[in-house]
Symmetry: C2
Subunit: 245 residues, 2 copies
């Protein structure tokens, strides 16, 4: 049986608050075996942009990235958030390495057509190189930035990057992809924490979708999760909800 | 005979201007064999600080780094400057990896005593790990940030980092350490470009120092260069001036 690998994706809210970041560092450091951390940082990016007098524009909850905003996210995601996590993981005894998709050409993307500016949709992740790092005892800490191979950094959705990395590593490890976010998990009633759905299979998903119980922002999350399962990822967790084939 | 390795240190002025950066990328990409790039970024840091309403304080030409300024340099050095160089080197066919001292615990430092704030003086670089990366065909691109092993990023002088990396790699390679800066090199008369001194040995240095020809900011540069030579670095270049034992 292949070795297990945990890929944890944490949103901005977790890494941007000193207290929850400290909790994350100790929780993540305690995960046994090889692991990868993928982080966001959107709130800090918006805060820096505001301080610099740069307006933030969103379409469908995603950041439009003009030249100025690309500088902001490159600084915040690739610098501030990433390097602070790396330094704190090192202090916790984890040999962390901060990466964007440009570093070692780990994740390549292409510029999304339309009004998005410097936003990248992922083409591929280099699973073999990431597996080599993991075998050397290194813990990759991945910022939501990629590159197009033509010298441009591209702002990229962290959920998608985590999923791409999970799929790219599935040939080498039994991958558990875990999305850590504010909610308890997938719920029948978003406002009722006791309505958590603990386990969703593909069949369950189709039924929940048809019944309208899963909708809105949770739909793409679950579709991404099932896509990862189809690509060989062993299991996906959305907070406490387990998604399997 | 051991393989040659070039370590190029470039100052902020080179990497912060789009045109000179493009020239640097193509010049650096053309260097044969394994290589390391160490960069600065001070002007961009000052510019961002100003835009954020943060005052820049210098002592003896070095940046005092309070909490706010640490955020600025972490963003600018570790994010903006570093990741743009990495993406452009990738486009030039160089498999670049952006690093701070915290990444893979490559360079450890301690907080300088006194009024400096989050400034680090280098303790050691991990030559073995850097050599492993180089053997894998990876080109490290190093930002002037280190860590103290206790979770703190520290702002660190890029000249010193380049010298430390050169010394740490001297057991593995014939190292040529090259400082690329605005002047032509070491000159008898700083205002006369034709007064370049093409070659300086340790004996020459002692004489030039006694005669007062070398003084001011050039003294520590040459002392660092000779220290590197004593630590096994084969040769040091300060722009066009070659320094050897």
């Amino acid at each position: 049986m292949r070795e297990g690998l945990t890929i944890l994706k944490v949103g901005g809210a977790v890494v941007e608050n000193a207290e929850s970041l400290q909790q994350l560092i100790s929780d993540f450091a305690a995960i046994p075996g090889p692991k990868v951390l993928v982080h966001g940082g959107g709130r800090s990016a918006t805060a820096l942009a505001t301080r610099m007098g740069i307006e933030t524009h969103m379409i469908d909850g995603r950041r439009v990235t003009d030249d100025d905003m690309l500088q902001v996210v490159t600084m915040v995601y690739g610098g501030l958030v990433n390097k602070n996590i790396v330094a704190q993981l090192q202090a916790a005894g984890i040999n962390a390495l901060g990466l964007t998709g440009a570093d070692m050409d780990i994740i390549r993307s292409h510029k999304r057509p339309g009004e998005w500016g410097w936003v990248g949709d992922v083409d591929r992740a280099d699973g073999e190189h990431l597996a080599t790092l993991l075998r050397e005892g290194i813990t990759p800490v991945i910022a939501p930035l990629t590159h197009d191979g033509e010298g441009h950094i591209l702002n990229t959705n962290a959920d998608t990057m985590a999923q791409t990395v999970a799929c790219a590593l599935a040939p080498y490890y039994e991958v558990c992809l875990q999305y850590h976010f504010e909610k308890r998990g997938v719920m029948r009633d978003p406002d009722d924490n006791s309505s958590l759905i603990p386990h969703i299979t593909e069949q369950d998903f189709l039924r929940l979708k048809a019944e309208g119980i899963v909708s809105g922002g949770m739909l793409p999350k679950l579709e991404n999760a099932l896509h990862a399962i189809h690509q060989g990822v062993s299991q996906v967790r959305i907070s406490e909800t387990l998604i399997t084939a």
